[in-house]
């Protein structure tokens, strides 16, 4: 029973599943457009797989909204940046640029780390000095850290520019100078004796934000903390680009972070266009190839058909997953090789089905009629046979898409994904491999899977909606 395009669309729209499917699909497409427009192409290589980019993010942190539902408030993540100093003090030739960061700390647990970063310093005569000091809620001040910018190199001419392509990041956490300063502070103010190495193992960030209770126990000190970063410059033309203070939290963002500190929200978003791309592209190529071979083989018959049949049969008898794993491992982890492999294993099923449809059609008299009016073979295949199998082929295309998305996720999960293109499967792979499930990092494990399922279901729903178009018997009688 033939239908033109308009009638087909009407039939499709009739079902609820189709509507839901289309709504989902538009959401997926919107997300993908957003990502493609706003993310750089080399996102994977430049950012996602670059641990230094995520250095200032808390590691394995649950999403920030967890604080709303838990009894104990986990410390939030603060990233404060100034491009201009809060005030400037002049003392002779010395110009002190002060960057003042105020933090109202109300969490029940201390931060997970502390670091600060200087971006782009230029000096003309004397190298600048940088100092970090903290004024705590208990009104006690500690000079935590100081360093001098590196001097001129042999043969270098002023102005001397430092830290502009690679910002200077200093981690208070793990720094022995800070540990020593804190050790002295504890002894001086609280009469507590702790060697710098002990300070280091408890954690500089922890001690800075707490009051000693007993010998080695610390209670969080809530209140206002003022961090001051002073940059001492000795020439009026000396410049500082950006100063950033990071008080590491234990929660972060909308979807939390993984063990490398990567913002999962960003990573998961990136997965949308990749998943759609893989699914649709692979599906389209496979469908075109499979259907094309099915039509050619079915119509031309003879040797051509035999050959195609044999190859399809051969491929169908190969267990899919072991071979995919084997070939992906040997040929390399590249998205195009993956697409290629999926296509190679995917076309036979469709070819066999299309071929049998074509065989049925071949005996129809209108084919003979077409021959009798002088149509060459390719004309018949293209204009007479193809339109009759087209609805089915299109439905198959939709139906194949989730299969490929799931296959790619499975391969990524086994570690065979393309590392330059982060996908949901890869996020899960890292979560599994780093033991995330064994320590209960649910925000890392659950969302990628849900996204995979949601994307796959979208296409399943649309395919379900297309069934009446393809299979006339299922149509409702008007």
């Amino acid at each position: 029973m033939a239908m033109n395009l308009r009638e087909s669309l009407k039939e499709f729209w009739r079902l609820n599943v189709s509507k839901v499917g289309l709504i989902f699909l538009s959401m997926l497409i919107l997300a993908s457009i957003y990502v493609v427009a706003s993310y750089p192409l080399d996102f994977g290589v430049r950012y996602w797989n670059n641990p230094s980019y995520w250095a200032d993010y808390p590691k394995s942190a649950p999403p920030a909204w967890v604080n709303l539902i838990s009894s104990e408030k986990a410390p939030e993540h603060y990233v404060l940046t100034y491009t201009k100093p809060s005030n400037i003090t002049l003392t002779g030739t010395e110009r002190k640029l002060s960057y003042i960061f105020e933090i109202d700390f109300q969490a029940d647990r201390p931060p997970s780390f502390i670091s600060f970063t200087i971006l782009d310093i230029t000096y003309h005569e004397r190298p600048s000095t940088v100092k970090l000091s903290v004024l705590r809620p208990d009104m006690k001040n500690i000079e935590v850290y100081s360093f001098i910018v590196s001097g001129p190199y042999l043969g270098e001419e002023p102005p001397y520019r430092r830290y502009y392509d690679q910002p200077k990041r200093i981690s208070i956490t793990g720094d022995m100078l800070t540990a020593t300063a804190l050790s002295r502070f504890l002894y001086r103010e609280y009469n507590v004796t702790l060697r710098p190495s002990e300070v280091n193992s408890i954690g500089q960030h922890k001690i800075l934000f707490s009051i000693p209770v007993r010998d080695r126990e610390f209670k969080v000190l809530k209140g206002q903390y003022i961090f001051t970063i002073d940059v001492y410059t000795y020439n009026p033309n000396d410049e500082v680009g950006e100063v950033t203070l990071v008080i590491g939290g234990e929660v972060y963002g909308v979807m939390g972070t993984d063990s490398l500190g990567r913002d999962l929200f960003i990573g998961l978003l990136f997965g949308f266009p990749v998943a759609l791309f893989i699914g649709i592209v692979t599906s389209t190529i496979t469908t075109l190839l499979g259907a094309g071979l099915g039509i050619v083989g079915g119509y031309l018959g003879g040797r051509v058909d035999e050959v195609i049949q044999r190859i399809a049969d051969f491929i169908n008898n190969i267990p899919l997953l072991p071979f995919l794993i084997f070939l992906a491992f040997i040929l390399g982890q590249n998205i195009w090789i993956l697409v290629f492999l999926l296509v190679v294993f995917g076309w036979p099923t469709l070819t066999i089905i299309v071929r049998s449809m074509v065989l049925q059609l071949k005996s129809g008299q209108f084919i003979e009629a077409a021959i009798s009016i002088g149509a060459p073979r390719w004309w018949i295949m293209f204009k007479h046979i193809f339109p009759q199998v087209a609805p089915f082929i299109f439905a198959q295309l939709i139906f194949f898409t989730p299969t490929f998305i799931l296959l790619e996720a499975a391969l990524s999960f086994l570690g065979l994904g393309d590392p330059t293109l982060p996908t949901w499967g890869q996020i899960l792979e890292y979560g599994f491999r780093s033991g995330g499930i064994y320590v209960g990092l649910w925000w890392w494990i659950i969302p990628p899977g849900i996204l995979i399922i949601w994307t796959a279901i979208t296409f399943v729903l649309i395919a379900l909606g297309m069934e009446p178009v393809v299979n006339p018997r299922l149509r409702k009688i008007k």
């Binding site: 049969d313 008898n317 084997f326 040997i330 040929l331 659950i446 399943v460």
Partner: protein
């Protein structure tokens, strides 16, 4: 008889497929240089370790190098590197096909031996346990639910099952496994995180068995969740189609009791396609077990395959691929045979 002829022909074709598959793997291993690369790396590593060990005793650098060169040559001969890959690998391939599996390069059995056949046989039962129990449970549930909802089309159970079947197609099995671990092992502490036995395993055989069962619950559940949707749907479709056939209506018109109709007419006729689905399901789930075994660290051949690919232990990889393909091919063949035997309509 045409039947026997076709089947023999088919069997030979499939055997050919099997052999072609193995050789195809071999060609890929060889032509991409992977095989050479890996073996060479192993040789170099052994030579390096030897250098460190011998440097303490042989002080003369020339003497040291000479000894090492000899050893290196010996190693290269041992690993077959002196012969080009298109001689060395097909030779191995033939041995694998005739099931003369030899020794693994890097992997070991639990006891430390390296005979490939032992390595595989140690783990095969584990996979079989997993796969058969999962298939059996899915089939049982699938059949019961499928038949029930087929006779009560449109009911609540029917609609729930339909949605579930459609959705379960979209769910990655292995992710379910991970979630189950998260919920039942981490949060609820009801089941172990993975593995076959606890460490150390109980000495009493019965307790050991129970321990294994306890470890098997989550992986089997994962597989069942993945499989049962298909089972229910297939059963429902087949039973529904058969129940609508005219010969069933004829039986009803004759006044047979519903139960009899159900048993003798519907189920027995629907049995062939259902059984063929069992076999196909079993065959495919063996390779599907790769993912589940990886998630649960279940020491079966699926996990073994993954480990072997990771270190590219050639012999094991080829041997296992051979076994997977063999199982798959045999299953499909039995399928075709069964289909022809059980369904008289297909005979020609």
């Amino acid at each position: 008889m045409g039947l026997a002829r076709t089947l023999i022909f088919r069997a030979t074709t499939l055997a050919l497929v099997l052999i072609l598959v193995v050789f195809f793997m071999v060609i890929i291993l060889g032509a991409t240089g992977t095989s050479d690369k890996i073996l060479q790396a192993m040789v170099n590593e052994e030579v390096m370790m030897l250098r460190q060990a011998l440097a303490k005793t042989i002080k003369d650098p020339e003497e040291l190098n000479r000894v090492l060169a000899i050893r290196k040559q010996e190693l290269m001969e041992f690993y077959g590197l002196t012969k080009p890959w298109y001689i060395r690998l097909p030779d191995m391939a033939w041995r694998v096909i005739t099931l003369d599996l030899g020794k693994a390069r890097t992997l070991k059995t639990f006891a430390g031996g390296n005979k490939v056949s032992e390595i595989i046989m140690e783990r095969l039962p584990n996979t079989i346990i997993l796969v058969t129990s999962a298939t059996a449970i899915s089939a049982l549930v699938g059949l019961i639910v499928g038949v029930r909802i087929a006779t009560r089309v449109g009911g609540l159970l029917d609609r729930i099952s339909s949605y579930f079947s459609a959705v379960s197609y979209a769910i990655p099995t292995w992710w379910i496994g991970i979630i189950l671990i998260l919920v039942f092992s981490f949060f609820l502490r009801l089941f172990p995180f993975g593995g076959l036995y606890s460490t150390p395993p109980p000495t009493d055989p019965f307790l050991r068995f129970l321990d294994m069962l306890w470890h098997a619950v989550l992986p089997v559940t994962t597989l069942v969740i993945a499989l049962v949707g298909v089972w229910i749907y297939t059963t429902r479709t087949i039973v529904l189609n058969t129940a609508q056939e005219d010969f069933v209506n004829a039986a009803r018109a004759k006044g047979f009791p519903e139960e009899l109709i159900r048993r003798r007419y519907i189920i027995r006729v629907a049995a062939p396609p259902i059984i063929t689905n069992v076999i196909l399901g079993l065959a495919t789930s063996i390779s599907g077990a790769i993912l589940t075994e990886t998630v649960f660290s279940w020491p079966g051949i699926g996990r073994l395959f993954y480990d072997a690919v990771l270190v590219m232990d050639e012999v094991v990889v080829i041997a296992l691929t051979y076994i997977f393909t063999l199982v798959y091919v045999v299953a499909r063949f039995i399928l075709e045979v069964l289909y022809v035997i059980l369904d008289p309509r297909v005979r020609y």
